[in-house]
């Protein structure tokens, strides 16, 4: 456990000293929160569009922010693998699980900090526009974000293990785009229906957004909250096993 914590501490320091992590992991989601609130204010009420209403937007931005955590997870792993630093670590008493957990823990910390900041700003905006979000809902949203955070971080670790530091960010950007659209962050997938909704329902991203939004609204029904949360948790578990297996396999291949 100590080795995991030592490696986690190193990774956390590395992230905290990278200016880009502040811009993309914290700044960009907050900017999008502000911009899409302005968009919402510009949409006529007759249009009946509620996707960018702050209580819905907060949940969407919470998930959107996690896609950048995925990107930074991938970059952290791929950068280490292409440098000789990991060679030194392979020669140390560290085990495969120390590595994967050592990447996971600091990213989870960053994810929760990012989400908390997003939700605080969302609360301030909601009070400003006269439609205050229930703080309990935001707390529930923060807690329900955890399986989604695990899901995205493990995808990042998987991509970082499989691809080098040039390819991994590019592939992550595809997931960021896919996750944003298929997650119903920028459009109301449920209202759209049809083939689009069917496609969204085949991917875990929609359930990530749905579970967090429901939690923020303090709606804990089976269809609205528990089923989506279960799906996301299962997806996170699959990604966890896959990323750990792939990392271990790659580590053995590197040491062959």
């Amino acid at each position: 456990m100590n080795r995991t914590l030592q490696f986690s501490k190193r990774n956390l320091i590395e992230i905290s000293r990278d200016v880009l992590s502040y811009i993309f992991c914290i700044g960009f989601p907050l900017v999008m929160l502000g911009v899409m609130t302005l968009v919402n204010e510009s949409i006529p009420k007759e249009a009946g569009m509620t996707i960018f209403r702050i209580d819905n937007l907060a949940g969407g931005i919470g998930i959107f922010g996690l896609t950048f955590i995925m990107l930074f997870s991938a970059m952290a792993v791929s950068k280490d693998r292409t440098s000789s630093f990991l060679i030194r670590m392979y020669a140390s008493p560290m085990k495969g699980s120390d590595f994967t957990n050592g990447y996971l823990l600091p990213m989870l910390v960053v994810a929760l900090v990012q989400a908390a900041l997003s939700f605080i700003v969302a609360f301030i905006i909601s009070v400003t526009v006269g439609d205050a979000i229930n703080p309990l809902g935001l707390l529930a949203g923060l807690a329900s974000l955890l399986p989604s955070a695990l899901f995205f971080v493990f995808i990042g670790i998987l991509f970082g293990t499989l691809f080098n530091d040039k390819a991994a960010p590019g592939l992550c950007s595809i997931i960021i785009s896919l996750g944003s659209f298929l997650g119903g962050i920028w459009f109301d997938a449920e209202a759209t229906g049809g083939v689009m909704l069917k496609i969204c329902k085949c991917m875990p991203f929609l359930y990530c957004t749905k579970s967090v939004r429901s939690a923020i609204h303090l709606e804990f029904g089976w269809e609205e909250f528990w089923l989506p949360l279960l799906i996301v948790t299962a997806a996170a578990a699959v990604m966890a096993v896959l990323s750990m297996l792939v990392f271990r396999t790659k580590m053995k291949a590197d040491l062959a």
Binding site: F85, R88, M94, A256
Partner: protein, 245 residues
Amino acid sequence: MERNVAIDTKNLTKKYGSKTAVDHLNLTVMEGEMLALLGVNGAGKTTTIRMLSGLSTPTEGEARILGNDVREDQDKVKSLVGISPQDTAVAENLTVEENLAFMAGIYLGRKEESKSRVEEILKGFHLEEVRAKKAKTLSGGWKRKLSIAMAIIGKPKVLYLDEPTLGLDVLARRELWREIESLKSQMTIILTTHYMEEAEALADRIAIMIDGSLVMTGTLAELEEATGKKGLEEVFVSVAEGSKA
């Protein structure tokens, strides 16, 4: 004083497809000894080090580090050895002190022991003046020093220095030699290099590798006597040309 065998290899071989990088290496290094593994690029020095540190699995043969098999007792071997890789391999965004604290935490665990060990290494390696500097801002010489310091902070019994002065200017190289010499007799050291003067200056014994094979081992005097040549460069050229004939 009787010394134990620290490193012992029997027909240690590494193949990559049809290419044999290390060919039936039989090498014995005694505790406290510094052995220079000398050879040109591609001779198999780094591959040998990788096998002896558990970074690479041998294709054939065996190797034991203080009696522990590199295949069967990998965890034990990893706790006994320290390696300073050919590329400096430091955490670039961490300071010198943070890099050392990190490695101390990995190898030593206990907070108080790690803390005092970090101070000891900072002082012993004259890294105090750069302790708060980020590793990426260090010059090549300082980075190499840090790399070696990170390799020994875990109190290894066996230390591998893979081309420790590669790319350094003569002054930085001499300074690093002083640091390496201060480690002699504290631990068993294998130093890989293609700099003749480095092997001459530092090593107790020299092992010459050519095309994956260990062709000659001994002190400089022994090598000179065996080849009839004076100076390590002449010895090496004679051995290299002899092996091609």
